[in-house]
């Protein structure tokens, strides 16, 4: 790039100056234009993103912080400063702590089994199978269905009285499960919806990472007499670490924001009569657009953000350690290669 910026565009019509008489300070207009072009074009290209982002991204975030310190009056459309009162109010609500517990519970119940399943599905897809595209597309099929639609179908299957799951359970002589009464079982039901939609998606991401593992590792392991399970455990899994961490981080950010599935789990959308499946975002919605208390909703939004940041930092800490562990192996995964480039 740098070599080209001083070059005069051949399209310029003026004749080249004679040798020795060059006056470097006097630039032709087209040359100047070309320099401005080089200098300002990058900013021009990124400006639409940043201008829009400032309006619909940055401004609302800052304004949420302002509102969270206010008692917002909907009629006057302005607020009065109350300091940390809204935060204190939120943290004093038992519903908040229930919602926090539920959010983490649903998150763990959805992410852990999902990751394990996704790894195994990816390992199967990584084999030398026929009709690769068909299998990959089928695995992704649940992803195209809206979470609201998934939630409606599964809420029906997990019905307390006539749901499919309870019918099957009673048919084989077991007790029906109180899906909409017991917090734990409601979390299982909601986590199942999340797992249904995301397992295949994550399997494809992990599959891509598996295919980046050099074949020679497996060949060497075969020569050394390692069986398939041993190869999976000692070669595939360690190579997946960076991708796994990426998947875990995105799952955390998304999982802690869960709203659609718990909202649709019954027809009131309140998170259950005893807050069995009330999540933080559902609570935020109920405060903001059920009670129309924007100050408290804004404070809760910031609390949620801080929780996500904390979990993200913990993730980052673990990431660093795991990647360092991997250093002894001497291999460079695509992700690490990229990190080096940055």
């Amino acid at each position: 790039m740098t070599a080209t910026d001083t070059r005069r565009p051949p399209t310029s019509s003026d004749s080249p100056p004679p040798r020795g008489e060059r006056a470097p300070r006097v630039l032709s207009f087209s040359h100047k234009l070309s320099r401005w072009d080089l200098k300002f074009s990058p900013y021009l290209y990124i400006s639409p993103f940043f201008i829009l982002f400032a309006i619909v991204g940055l401004f609302p975030i800052a304004f949420t912080a302002v509102i969270s310190f206010q008692e917002w009056d909907l009629v006057r459309n302005s607020g009065t400063f109350v300091g940390f009162d809204q935060y204190i109010w939120i943290l004093g609500q038992p519903q908040f702590w229930t919602a926090l517990r539920n959010t983490f519970s649903i998150f763990l119940l959805s992410s852990v089994p999902q990751l394990i399943l996704a790894i195994f599905i990816a390992a199967m897809l990584d084999r030398n199978i026929r009709a690769k595209t068909f299998w990959r597309m089928s695995v992704l099929l649940p992803f195209v269905m809206a979470p609201v639609a998934v939630a409606l179908i599964f809420s029906n299957m997990f019905g307390d009285n006539h749901g499919l799951v309870n019918n099957v359970l009673t048919n084989i002589g077991l007790n029906p499960i109180p899906w909409h009464k017991d917090p734990f079982w409601s979390h299982i039901a909601i986590a199942t919806m999340v797992n249904f939609r995301w397992t295949g998606y994550n399997a494809l991401i992990l599959l891509a990472a598996m295919q980046a593992v050099p074949r020679e590792y497996y060949e060497a392991a075969t020569v050394d007499g390692a069986n398939a399970f041993r190869q999976f455990w000692s070669i595939t899994l360690p190579s997946l670490r960076p991708t796994l961490i990426f998947v875990i981080i995105t799952a955390t950010i998304g999982g802690l924001q869960i709203f659609d599935e718990p909202r649709m789990f019954d027809n009131t959308g309140e998170g259950g009569p005893a807050q069995q499946w009330l999540t933080i975002t559902l609570y935020l919605y109920n405060i903001g657009w059920g009670e129309f208390n924007f100050g408290r909703a804004a404070a809760l939004a910031w609390i949620l953000f801080i929780i996500i940041l904390l979990i993200g930092l913990i993730n980052l800490f673990i990431t660093r350690r795991l990647v360092r562990d991997e250093g002894g192996r001497g291999e460079i995964t695509p992700r690490r290669r990229k990190r080096v480039q940055r």
């Binding site: 072009d37 829009l52 509102i67 199967m124 195209v144 891509a208 950010i253 953000f305």
Partner: protein, 305 residues
């Protein structure tokens, strides 16, 4: 660096697919060993049955009537009422199905197109141009990926209520016109798929920055742009939280309309699940045509980003 005599831009354009083919070739020459045994097909079969089953279940219930769900020995074959149930969804004045369908198509298309355009522009600048502040601006974009939607909804709602735009489809389009993920994605893709020599060659030829972008960047970005479009489209189509807040019954998107189906005190699941299928059909059609690209997109994004 190419010779000083200027090659036509067509050669430069040709250079891109070649460069990419070479990369792709490297990857596919690795022969995946380990022939799949029967158990792999059985395992994948189970996975696919569980992926399809909820679709089948909603067709089963959606093609029955209100009593099907309460029938302890119901048939596992669909009934004949799907059209009737679908019609009662479409004709339900509380749901506004056709308007919801139009709103979903319109908003998702506009959002996806806009995200692709702005992301390609910004991604090109971040991947291939040198400018002051590039590093920390890109780091800033990556950092915003961790910011939850919830953090902006209260002021956005106040803003749109002020403008009188609540209930208006514009209120869900405008906040989604750009995407930090999109910029990050295009940056990753373009920095790996376009060799710097190509840009130098175009510049030596006297191509302006915008012409270089157009003839080199856009051409190279096309596959990634298609994937980003699909991905953004599906996500915009399925988005619920913000549309649910800002839209109302008169002019919903499909997920909001679906939520209205269930909000009655008495829920007739045969109609709800017929509606669920009806609302999913457009995406299933899209998936039939472009599912392969979506798969490739997710996998490409995984290796690179």
């Amino acid at each position: 660096m190419t010779s000083l005599s200027s090659p036509p831009l067509a050669i430069i354009e040709e250079g891109i697919p070649n460069a990419k083919r070479r990369q792709r070739g490297d990857r596919t020459t690795k022969i995946r060993g380990m022939r799949a045994g029967t158990w792999v097909y059985i395992g994948l079969g189970v996975v696919i049955v569980s992926a399809i089953f909820p679709y089948y279940w909603s067709f089963l219930i959606g093609s029955g009537d209100a009593s099907t769900i309460n029938d302890p020995d119901m048939s596992w074959l669909p009934g004949g009422n799907f059209i009737a149930n679908a019609l009662s969804v479409v004709n339900d004045p509380a749901v506004n199905f056709w308007l919801a369908l139009w709103n979903s198509i319109f908003s998702s298309t506009v959002i996806a197109a806009s995200v692709v355009v702005f992301s390609t522009l910004a991604g090109w600048a971040f991947a291939k141009l040198r400018f002051r502040g590039r590093g920390w601006l890109l780091a800033f974009i990556v950092a915003t990926l961790a910011v939850p939607t919830q953090l902006g909804v209260v002021p956005l709602y106040i803003l749109f209520a002020d403008l009188g735009w609540t209930g208006n489809i514009g209120a869900i389009i405008i906040p989604a016109l750009t995407s930090a993920f999109g910029v990050f994605w295009m940056t990753q893709y373009l920095s790996q798929s376009v060799p710097d020599e190509l840009i130098e060659a175009a510049r030596v030829d006297g191509a302006s920055m915008i012409r270089t972008f157009w003839t080199v960047g856009v051409v190279a970005a096309r596959p990634a742009a298609a994937m980003l479009f699909l991905f953004t489209f599906v996500n915009a189509w399925n988005n619920f939280f913000w549309p649910f807040i800002v839209l109302d019954r008169q002019s919903p998107t499909l997920p909001v309309a679906l939520s209205l189906l269930q909000s009655n005190y008495f829920v007739d699941y045969s109609i709800v699940l017929a509606g669920v299928l009806l609302a999913t059909i457009p995406l299933l059609i899209l998936f039939a045509f472009a599912g392969r690209q979506l798969v490739n997109g997710i996998m490409a994004g995984a290796v690179k980003g």
